[in-house]
Symmetry: C2
Subunit: 490 residues, 2 copies
């Protein structure tokens, strides 16, 4: 009899253990799980579905490159960007919506109509969970989008106030393009940006060697890591112009370095924002070739985050979004019908920006039209019919437009007519450059609706821990709300 009792006791214990194990398993599956410790938020400025698509098609059909990381995300949402004043948002308002969840004045950063400052998701993560914070941008580190994570200002153009907030943020890693517009205050007399940041505990470094040497935030403290070899705007050169410049430090390199630097010994979580800032600039200028290279460069940074994700799949969340679409980009054009000729874009090896500088040179030296034409052929692969370039030569009408634009570009800007019709033709850009860009874009089958932003919602791509929360259609403020909820922040 004792034997039976023993048997029953053992059986009961085994059953009990099974019940417990199953209950644990079920409850583990039911609970939302542990919040992500490592969060990457990629913001493509001006990055909408058309930008993603054009880069994808160009990458696969012209470059024959590996699939873009952008297309590997499992969860997709779409965020409407409508702002307080307009259905088309401006950048400061858009990033405030994403960073602190408020809809505010167009040029305000994380400050509402009543003047109340709102803590950003980065500040919350730092204060409440002790996450280390990285802010990376190919745009200037004190411009609207990066500033959206540390600044609280009525005007995005209050440069010194923003730089002061950067210095007082305590964020561990700022990386990418330079801080611009710093002016020494009286108390700072004689001191430059480096000293100013130093007084706030930041090391300002701007050589590849120094950036590569960085160990971890825990050991080395806070840094402002600026890429070497910047363009005249203090930003990382356009990817399309890279070959003409000595090696800069790319968005992808910053992303990789920042993740290592913040991860350190693995004792803390981190939140890294990476802005592909010059996607927007290229789209304002309606320059498709510069755009696709910029998106592919941005994708490289996402690949760096994916590499980290694959080492920490359960603890990492990657989100990719945009603040708004720029340019009203259409991947189609009346004249080319149902065909695209994207290889035409590959003929372009210079950004609108850099070519505009060349045109300034032509004006100064009085270079005649006939001598400019070979340069146009050299950088854009188009020109009048010469028996060799039968595919994309410029016909009579095109040549007339080009000549008219050349004449305009050779005139001193202060003496040029500027009516709506000039604006529609050239925007605020160099006439010759814009005419070439429009011709090559149209010949590739690409057209643009505006030099400004559009109301198209932005994609929200999510992967990893918590990614499933980002599906569906919602306002851009929900990106903040979803992160806040997922991370159980106040």
């Amino acid at each position: 009899m004792r034997r039976y009792i023993k048997l029953f006791a053992i059986l009961t214990a085994v059953m009990l253990a099974l019940v417990l194990a199953l209950a644990l398993f079920v409850s583990f599956r039911e609970t939302p799980g542990v919040a992500p410790r490592y969060i990457f938020l990629f913001v493509g400025d001006g990055f909408g579905y058309p930008q993603l698509t054009l880069a994808t098609l160009y990458n696969s059909s012209v470059l024959g490159g590996d699939e873009l990381a952008l297309n590997s995300f499992e969860y997709i949402g779409s965020a409407y960007t409508e702002n307080t004043y307009s259905q088309i948002t401006e950048s400061a308002g858009a990033i405030s919506a994403i960073a602190s969840g408020i809809k505010t004045d167009n040029e305000s950063l994380n400050i509402d109509f009543e003047g109340k400052k709102h803590e950003t998701i980065a500040e919350k993560l730092k204060r409440q969970l002790g996450y280390k914070i990285g802010v990376i941008s190919s745009d200037n580190l004190n411009r609207a989008t990066p500033a959206g994570f540390y600044a609280h200002q009525k005007s995005r153009y209050d440069t010194m106030a923003i730089i002061l907030e950067l210095a007082e943020s305590g964020f561990e890693y700022f990386g990418g393009s330079d801080i611009v517009g710093f002016i020494s205050t009286e108390s700072m007399a004689g001191k430059g940006l480096r000293d100013f940041l130093g007084e706030h505990g930041y090391r300002y470094i701007n050589t590849r060697e120094d950036i590569e040497k960085l160990g971890s935030a825990a050991a080395d403290g806070k840094v402002v890591a600026v890429s070497p070899m910047l363009d005249p705007y203090g930003t990382i050169p356009y990817a399309i112009d890279k070959e003409r410049h000595a090696d800069s430090f790319t968005l992808a390199e910053h992303t990789k370095k920042c993740a290592e630097f913040l991860y350190g010994d693995g004792k803390n979580g981190f939140f890294i924002v990476v802005e592909g800032g010059k996607i927007d600039w290229a789209c304002h200028a309606n320059d498709a070739a510069t755009l696709v290279h910029e998106v592919i460069d941005f994708d490289g940074a996402i690949k760096a985050a994916l590499a980290f994700y694959h080492r920490h799949p359960k603890e990492t969340l990657i989100i990719v979004t945009g603040d708004h679409e720029t340019g009203g980009l259409s991947i189609g054009y009346s004249e080319t019908g149902t065909r695209l000729y994207l290889h035409q874009l590959a003929e372009q090896t210079i950004s609108y920006s850099e070519f505009s500088f060349l045109v300034q040179g032509y004006r100064r030296t009085g270079t005649p039209f006939e001598e400019v034409l070979p340069e146009i052929r050299r950088y854009f692969g188009i020109g009048p019919y010469d028996g060799e370039n039968a595919d994309f030569y410029l016909g009579y009408g095109d040549m007339e437009k080009l000549r008219a634009a050349y004449d305009m570009s050779m005139t001193d800007p202060s003496e040029r007519p500027f009516t709506m019709s000039e604006y529609m033709a050239y925007g605020f850009y160099d006439p010759l450059t814009m005419t070439i860009i429009k011709l090559t874009n149209n010949k590739a089958g690409i057209s643009w609706g505006t030099y400004s932003h559009s109301a198209l919602p932005v994609p929200v791509l999510a992967m990893g821990n918590g990614a499933e929360n980002f599906t569906g259609f919602y306002k851009n403020t929900e990106i903040f709300a979803k992160l806040k909820k997922l991370l159980d922040l106040d």
Copy 2:
């Protein structure tokens, strides 16, 4: 002692029961679940993210309507539409990709380059699972998109072969716009479409009364239910023109009726395709006002499916997608910068199509420009400045364009010049109508890149049983593949 044994026995039994219950619970949660019995596939022809967005913004800011059903979908995917010959697809190729999962010749329907016919998802569901099938379209029932679910032809323009396949499909419900282009064969001499369909077991009905009377497919057999009050193309009039026509039978009404008809006594599953066909037509004509009304009408049909879904949530799957984007629609325009003036679109109360007919009348009667202007104001709310309409009057340049277009429209079409520059200005449409449409669209802040399709991927919205499979980026052929897998079809 016996008492203890009893106690242990009871405890063991209880534990065993718990283990079983938990195991069942877990396994239930683990298995993919039963495949959906009721499937709605909505295909907006020419329906991309810009079309969805413009309708959403117009609906909320101008109409103040309830949220569109389109924005309530939880899962979003994006489908690339690239075709065999071009990165911009044509409609027959696109629908073949969705319906039978093949990439084929541009104008072919479900037949590959080797001439092999491919069974469509609708045919598979009918043959393998006994699902009843409904095909609804605001476009003609024998045009490419609806035909994509029953036809297998080298050319989408082989009208009689397609109509024969329709008649032989055995699908239970065809509804919406009329079948066009039927020509009696010799053996059918003297018989019309109604007789032809009757010989194939179909009742052809085209009055509201007859359609409303329909009971169930099980009791009443197969029908071709054509909306009364069609436009000159044999299609349901544009939603924007509805008020000038007696009540037709809308896409939403067809969707509701078809679901009841196929559901019957609930013994079989069903698959219903609903095409919003004239979204595409409006976009080809770059007519934003007509477009938004058409998308909102399409959304009404989706709401009808949602009503069914709420009664059968576990058994229903709703998917909404497009075959391609049409028009390269930008919700932004250079001249209007970061503002939209969508209420301008509300001034338009006629489609480009119907206004074109009016213009033909003006030509026949020789109506002078001065008498046409009040008609333009009446239907589009724009005209020269008259002290009252200060917001959107036409300036000197606009009036010049309008006058030139009027002169062109008053010329017999066979005597008009037609070069690329006329095509760029008016497409293949009436010059005066297109000029008005462009002016009002631009004043609203809307611009278009092409009269043709674009390469933008289409949204794939999913709700209900199996919806989670449709997230991410993929080719449009995956819509077929995912359905096939979900339903475990050969």
